[in-house]
């Protein structure tokens, strides 16, 4: 299967690292977003967990930053095929933010400043798998990378890690977000190469 391009050998990474299928390593931090970068002043920033009708939890920047934080090092995999390994972040675990929320919801829609949305099973936001991150590489997170704060769900393709995140809405059924409505996969597991809708 496949067509061999004679004379093509490619640039292979010397290091023996395991990447998800179809990804290549970069040391850059490329940017992908659908529109202009929103600039959100900290005194107007808030993060809200709701169920579509009622607000369940709300933080302003100060109360958010009073939450216990974690530092963590994770690999990032973008659907545009770059992977960046060993990135270091500081953020608040979604486990902490969801701790007092009683819900039987199955899914969540992350919502951003600039009206971006992305959907995930709620279980993917729990059990030490997801954070609201505000520092990258020991520096405040730059606006083009999602600052002041972004969702980080590193086990899924990076479009699930909503930049400029402002809240999550809990849902009783799955619903496509922005890219998921435009031809990208509803779940987005890089290890199963779930890039586009129709990929298994």
């Amino acid at each position: 299967m496949g067509i061999v391009s004679l004379g093509f050998s490619g640039l292979r990474s010397a290091a023996d690292v395991k990447l998800p299928p179809g990804q290549y390593l970069t040391t850059d931090f490329p940017v992908l977003s659908a529109g202009p970068t929103p600039h959100v002043p900290l005194d107007r920033w808030e993060f809200v967990i709701d169920d579509g009708t009622n607000v369940l939890r709300r933080w302003d920047w100060k109360s958010f930053r009073d939450l216990p934080t974690e530092t963590f090092t994770v690999d990032l995999h973008c659907v545009t095929r770059w992977s960046k390994l060993g990135t270091s972040w500081e953020g608040v675990s979604l486990d902490t933010m969801l701790a007092d929320v009683k819900t039987d919801a199955s899914h969540a829609m992350a919502r951003s400043y600039g009206d971006y949305t992305t959907n995930l099973p709620l279980s993917d936001l729990m059990n030490k798998q997801a954070w609201i991150a505000f520092r990258f590489d020991n520096k405040d997170l730059a606006p083009e990378h999602g600052g002041p704060a972004r969702l980080l769900v590193p086990h899924l393709y990076l479009w699930k890690s909503a930049k400029w995140v402002r809240g999550i809405t809990l849902m009783h059924q799955d619903k496509p977000g922005f890219w998921e409505s435009l031809g990208y996969h509803i779940y987005g597991d890089p290890w199963r190469e779930q890039r586009y809708s129709g990929d298994e």
């Binding site: 067509i3 850059d28 490329p30 940017v31 202009p36 890039r195």
Partner: protein, 244 residues
């Protein structure tokens, strides 16, 4: 999404570093201007590399698409596509991909295109699509490019601009401008945006494509003169992304 096979039927050198590859794809389902394809190259030992390239041609009834590829010095796929591939070679590709950075022939509002370097490619598909469809949507293109010799599609753009004034065309040279050029070489700034793009009160849809820093700065300037962020669509590529 399935992989398709494209056969190279023509090669055209656009500049010293950019080449247009015309592919015949027998099962091509059609595309919308602005979409891209993933191209996969495989070495004889099975190693493969995939990169995304914008389609440069307008949607048409033939099973043909054109990709314009800019050679990146440290690129993995672009050197092969711009230097080694030959007519009648076959390539694996899948697509069309992308439903956001697209222009549909039904759109009638003014269109503002802003290209940085090879970011012109998907915007050219929009311009060609408009011309082919006989669209009444007025187009303006602000094209930022290093130097005159790096301009892609110059003659075609000039012809469309001369022909019926449906395309307003402004070049911004960033490193070297032609001798008689009214504006010194330099990046797109607030004055150029204010003087050459559609007034925001006309409600244009803006498409901005280029390197990340170019898109960041240009989208910011378009927002600053009153364009609604909802009406600004962006596509960015970094040196590692090879996305055009």
């Amino acid at each position: 999404m399935m992989w398709r096979v494209g056969t190279v039927i023509a090669l055209h050198e656009e500049t010293a570093t950019a080449r247009t590859i015309t592919l015949e794809v027998s099962d091509w389902p059609g595309h919308v201007a602005g979409q891209h394809v993933d191209v996969r190259l495989m070495a004889s030992d099975g190693y493969s590399a995939v990169r995304s390239y914008s389609v440069a041609s307008a949607p048409n009834s033939e099973r043909r698409i054109e990709l314009t590829v800019e050679r990146l010095p440290d690129g993995e796929v672009s050197p092969y596509l711009t230097q080694q591939i030959a007519v009648s070679d076959r390539l694996e590709l899948r697509g069309p991909i992308g439903g956001w950075f697209v222009w549909h022939a039904q759109q009638t509002e003014p269109i503002q295109l802003v290209a940085g370097g090879s970011g012109i490619v998907p915007l050219m598909a929009m311009i060609r699509s408009g011309a082919l469809a006989g669209s009444t949507a007025p187009f303006r293109l602000l094209y930022s490019v290093r130097k005159p010799e790096a301009v892609l599609y110059r003659e075609e753009l000039q012809a469309l601009s001369d022909q019926d004034h449906s395309l307003g065309l402004t070049y911004a040279y960033t490193r070297i401008a032609p001798e008689d050029w009214p504006r010194p070489a330099g990046r797109i700034d607030a004055a150029l945006i204010a003087n050459t793009t559609w007034p925001s009160k006309l409600g244009p849809t803006c498409y901005v494509c280029g390197p990340t820093s170019f898109v960041e700065s240009t989208a910011g300037l378009l927002t600053a003169i009153g364009n609604n962020p909802d009406k600004i669509r962006t596509e960015r590529f970094g040196p590692t992304g090879e996305r055009q």
